[in-house]
Symmetry: C2
Subunit: 327 residues, 2 copies
């Protein structure tokens, strides 16, 4: 099933069920008004939404209307947790190699993850607003899962059972603010501004056989200013699957329903597949020619991120954002 | 006014108004059921709660009942943001001096803060449960504010206007997990398990003149296994006030209503005031004798944290937790 959150002027928006082909939507009124509510009571509410979804796909829903991603908030406009991994170790290798640093052996067994802010998440077509174009504005094309309750100490296999939904992510990053912040030792804060999410969140069954082993075996496309810059495969080279990422967080604490867990930048060893963030392109340029030549994003730049299923149709709809200066 | 959240089996609990002397409580039913709801619509709902609070303090509320902190969840049992500062730079100085490291000059102008997990916050009397007593279990006695909406780019003065409530915090830390995690460069994750909060959240006016300049000019008491180990002054030595901490987060993003912003361990230059976390005691021991001698907490240990007002009465009630092994 596919779920979205429509803007209605409220903080949490209005839950809608969206048809598989993303053509038609239907308010979930009568079942639930907010997505968090569904995650809080998944076993009771999700079957009712699945029924509505089936009716919608059959063309039999009486009050369906044309689905418009521009009216979407993030599926969870605010969340109780957003924790992002760097699960494609190729990305870490490239960035470190560009600065002549080693990847510690432990990085292949112990996931690199950070706690992100989740009080103000962006919709798929919301502008990305920054006060300065000198901050090294960069997109990061990723995937994420939304979880149910996962108890402290859960194994990766048990944690994987906690996956309720999948989402598309643009993890905006301010690269010029990263070095000073990481040097302080406490992780990202200012260098990771509000994150954006694709129009719909989908249950894993929507991906069919492409969802296996806790990974999404499909290609993620990144289009910067109208030019495709990346078509990265999100499956085999994901060093840690989503169950491992969730279990890493749960080692010392419970994870509660509605937590968002990200994959980190999707990255492949085959450079011909392009890039899912500019930082990686610049790392490759540094490795090849000694210095980066691709500049970060400027005001007015656009980014489009989309993932297509094995049948060629869009799974989540597209993230389509423009970089704008703060008023 | 003083607000608490009673356990009722639900994820967000039930909002209660608590009398100034913490003796009597009254359900806020009819006004609001959850604290987040009040923060989302503060200007409309808080005056109604203030009216109930006045009635309660006058002894005229008909359905009041004895307030029991053991029935409390965290005032916000789950929050959209928990970001913690290390605003008492003396703490940073001590810890670094113990390992012969310098404090970078920038640390006196640029707050050290980290993004914490907020999907599963502990009530004041909830057990603190860990799988291993070898993780370096430590309490951290702190204060925090809960904010309204604060826009991106807010000045410290404007950010301070966004403070809605104050809370008492026990920022549980797993010290033996910290070095490996910080070495990875992405901040804390496993080393900062679920955080606990005092019984009631209070509006700043409850502190009278003790709340000034964005700081709480009162003493914070920490009692470990029945012995007072710290009575640290939370005011003058707070290098960055709460408005500065909020503004630091807001440099590149909006902060939305219900965000919790912490002070970090309350720490004084006068060592005779004791300590608000064991790590600091061990740092002092290392400076004085070359090695730490105080062990971290063990299963069965208790911690009690309380802050008293200028009139000697408890502001927030006490955090009283016991360390327990995971089942």
């Amino acid at each position: 099933m596919k779920l979205a959150t429509y803007k209605d002027g409220s903080r949490d928006g209005q839950l809608v069920v969206v048809s598989r082909d993303l053509a038609v939507a239907h308010f979930a009124t009568g079942i639930a008004t907010r997505l968090q509510q569904v995650l809080d009571d998944w076993n009771f509410l999700s079957p009712q939404l699945e029924d509505l979804y089936a009716t919608l796909n059959d063309g039999k829903a009486q009050h369906g209307f044309a689905f418009d991603p521009r009216l979407c908030m993030a599926p969870l406009p605010r969340a109780y947790q957003w924790v992002d991994g760097s699960a494609f170790i190729n990305h870490v290798e490239l960035v470190r190699r560009a600065r002549n640093a080693e990847v510690p052996p432990s990085f292949y067994e112990d996931p690199l993850m950070y706690q992100g802010g989740s009080d103000d998440l962006l919709g798929p077509c919301d502008d990305a607003v920054f006060a300065s174009a000198d901050w090294g504005i960069d997109f990061e094309s990723e995937l994420a899962v939304v979880t149910g309750d996962v108890p402290m100490g859960a194994t990766p296999a048990a944690a994987l059972e906690g996956v309720r939904l999948l989402m598309l992510v643009n993890d905006w990053s301010l690269r010029q603010l990263v070095p000073a912040e990481l040097a302080k030792g406490f992780g990202f804060l200012q260098s990771k501004p509000a994150t954006a999410f694709g129009p719909v969140a989908v249950t894993p069954d929507e991906l069919g056989a492409s969802w296996r082993g806790g990974r999404v075996h499909l290609d993620l496309e990144s289009v910067w200013n109208g030019r495709r810059v990346g078509l990265a495969h999100a499956g085999d080279e994901m060093t840690f699957h989503f169950g491992q990422l969730i279990a890493h967080v749960c080692r010392t604490r419970n994870m509660r329903a509605g937590s968002i867990v990200g994959s980190g930048t999707v990255s492949n060893k085959d450079w011909s597949r392009g890039y899912s963030c500019i930082a990686e392109k610049r790392a490759i340029e540094t490795i090849e020619a000694g210095a980066p030549k691709t500049a970060f994003m400027q005001f007015g730049d656009t980014i489009r991120i989309e993932l297509k299923g094995a049948d060629g149709t869009s799974v989540f709809g597209a993230i389509e954002q423009t970089v704008r200066p703060a008023a």
